[in-house]
Amino acid sequence: MEFVLLIFLPIVAALFIPLLFKRMKRIHTGWFVLAVPLVLFLYYATFIPSTMDGGHAISELQWIPSMGISFVSYIDGLSLLFSLLITGIGSLVVLYSIFYLDKNKEKLGNFYVYLLLFMSAMLGVVQSDNVISLYLFWELTSISSFLLIGYWFTRDRSRFGALKSMMITVFGGLMMLGGFVLLGIMGDTYSIRELIASAPDFVGHDYFTLALVLLLLGAFTKSAQFPFYIWLPDAMEAPTPVSAYLHSATMVKAGLYLVARFTPIFAFSEVWVWLVTGIGLLTLFWGSLFAVKQTDLKAILAFSTVSQLGLIMSLLGAGAITFHSNDAIFKFAMFGAIFHLINHATFKGSLFMIAGIVDHETGTRDIRKLGGLMSIMPVSFTIVFIGSMSMAGLPPFNGFLSKEMFLQSMVAIRQFELFQFDTWGILFPVIAWIASVFTFVYSFYFVFRTFAGKRKEGQLPQEPHEAPVGMLISPVILGVLVVGIFFIPNFVAKWLIKPAVAAIQPNLYSQPGDIDIHVAAWHGFKSVELWLTVGVIVVGALLFISLSKWQKVYGLQPAKLSLNALYDGMMSFSEKGMNRISRFYMTGLIRTYMIYIFAFISVAVLVILFTQDAFVVDMDSFAHIGVYSVINAVILLLAVCFVLLSKTRLAAIIALGAVGYSVALFFVIFKAPDLALTQLVIETVSVALFLLAFKHLPALKDHGETVKTKMTNGIVAIGVGITVTLVALSAHSQKLIPSIAQFYKDTVKTEAGGGNIVNVILVDYRGFDTLFEIAVLSIAGIGVLGMIKLRLGRKENSDENK
């Protein structure tokens, strides 16, 4: 079966959603949607046995074969893990949304269309083997995320958040496309598998580092890494199912997927190791630090997501070290990254859902108004407790296992000797430990400020009560998973994690069975990470108890010195600043534009003329100077100066006539009788035309032109004049081929049967010119007639019934 088509199943299903929504009013549309991710989840689950043995499945659909672009669904351990996350959590989120969104008040048709669109896009991202189609799906996730964040489009903050996430993720997406194109040039293929196969040749290629940085920009913007994380907290304006699905479990992990997928290509570079590990760790630290500051439940979760994504990112970076060092201890990093990725998806999904329930049942998400909900919402409390403790990294929850692995890897990084890690390496465990302490603090802050303490009567918009059963099913399932994974980590490892790790580190393992990592909750008293965890708990508990005393410190940061302010500044600059710049040079005055054009032409032409040594004057080819010509030239000059200097219109018109007639005289001198004839007639008619319009034309005023503008005009005019003269002189001096005049001369009698060469050229050799010249004349005539006759002024047109 061509399972690549399954990627498009959600999109196809989305086509029917509006119909179902319109026709089946009584049934919540979500029930129909639920079937799609469930079917896909069950189908993808059947791939587990083959990937466990290191196998992979591939299915291809040609799209643009001539350019090597196709839809390829390539399922190995890594993409299968992500596909299962997307469809599994997708099912739970759809189920949750059925109870969260009211079928009568909300536009469910739109919601589920966007959600299914997103699901297709996400499956496409993780399964694509072709970088171009991967980019296509990548941007589709950005677009569907934009639509989902702006779901309540009547709210200002929704639209702001949607635009912000769009700007940042699409910026990253475009950079990533650049990286893909460079990779395509280096490897001469768009297939990721083939690129990985030829990856060792890329090291040292001119484009290698550039492609690496561009690709990482895409991954960092999507996965909300520092400093691009700012869109994620604002994306919390989306409905909670969307936040749970896109902004904790799936879309923000697309960047992690990208990093993991391209690790076999780029891990040879120290830039990769440093950037991925460093930025990841910085994001972890930054996100955990600022999560404590937030007062909105979803904002706390958004910052905690940022921080946890940073954790996984830094582990992926540390895992790339295995490409340089065979030290067994680094093997834990990649394993821990994938493990934490699964764990984070489970506990963060459930936390978001509970935050949504609290919002739904109390009417607020403000942590300052909440408190004492433990006895009212016992089930929600239990789940949120499990999720938070897992997030804080405490046993017996799955977060504990992956957090221990994380600390272990960060301690191990100190021993890595390449790339100056031995100098700076000490920073890694220290920052990681501090970040873990803050993670502990915000996890406790989140759960206990909401559910413990006293109830604040009268502050809540609604009387709180426990959520309906349907809404609790999904978080309960996730909560059970959180605890379950703690007790059976090695099953999860065998089924999901090891195949994924084997796909990321093909250099270490030829098949998943080779990975000799056994997850254990207990490492003995000698292990460093145990004492680090104990330290986290002790210091974290102390900090949490004294939270109210030091939380004020966050107020010290001035609002102007934040990344959000930087983003806002950039946006307002691109809007107002650019407008101001274009207003500065787009004056609306014809003269200004003429000056731009003339100045540019003369400068450009003169520069080229002299830099290319093209200026040559060859006097030999020139004809002798005739007396009549000189006299006529003087007359012409006088006439044209008169046009320039005349103060009255009549004088100017007559002088212009003189110019025309002396040009006609030149035609006579230079043996062009037909030209002279035409020129005389046309000049007469022109002057007549001017005189006809004379009565209606305004007086020749100069409209207050200052000396300064006259000077500028003069300089520009002289520049153009000089340019024309020099170009004409050097063009005339350097003729490459002789004129074809001889041909006309020879054939005019025999071929065309005429004696007047000029006329024969006009009507026989080059008759088309004449045809369209006639057309020009006719159009001008019609135009003149129209302008004189048609008078659809505002006054006449105001009442068409007259």
């Binding site: 609306g588 043996k671 209606h696 004049g721």
Partner: protein, 112 residues
């Protein structure tokens, strides 16, 4: 000879451009007229001003001036005449409708 005419063309172009840059509508039209004269002369000059007969063949063959530039100029004269006539009427109508021949004042409305 060509040098002289080319210099003359340069002067004509300079004056034409100067007129084109002025604020007065009529001066701009005068500028376009002069510019087309200049260019016609330039085409003729570039074709070569060597001595030769008028390009009319009557009987025996001889030396003639190049006919092709002349044909090109003939076309250009008619077209520039059409454009000048059109511009002139346009100026006339603009002046009638708006009461101004100041190009700086004829900026239209500021958009937005």
């Amino acid at each position: 000879m060509e040098t002289l005419i080319t210099l003359l063309v340069g002067v004509l172009v300079t004056i034409a451009v100067y007129l084109l840059l002025s604020k007065n509508m009529i001066r701009v039209i005068l500028g376009t007229a002069i510019l087309s004269h200049a260019i016609h002369l330039l085409i003729l000059t570039m074709g070569g001003l060597k001595k030769g007969g008028v390009p009319l063949i009557e009987g025996e063959a001889g030396s003639y001036t190049d006919a092709l530039p002349q044909a090109l100029i003939l076309t250009a004269i008619v077209i520039s005449f059409a454009v000048t006539a059109f511009l002139l009427v346009l100026a006339y109508r603009t002046y009638k409708e708006t009461g101004s021949d100041n190009l700086d004042a004829l900026r239209g409305v500021n958009d937005e």
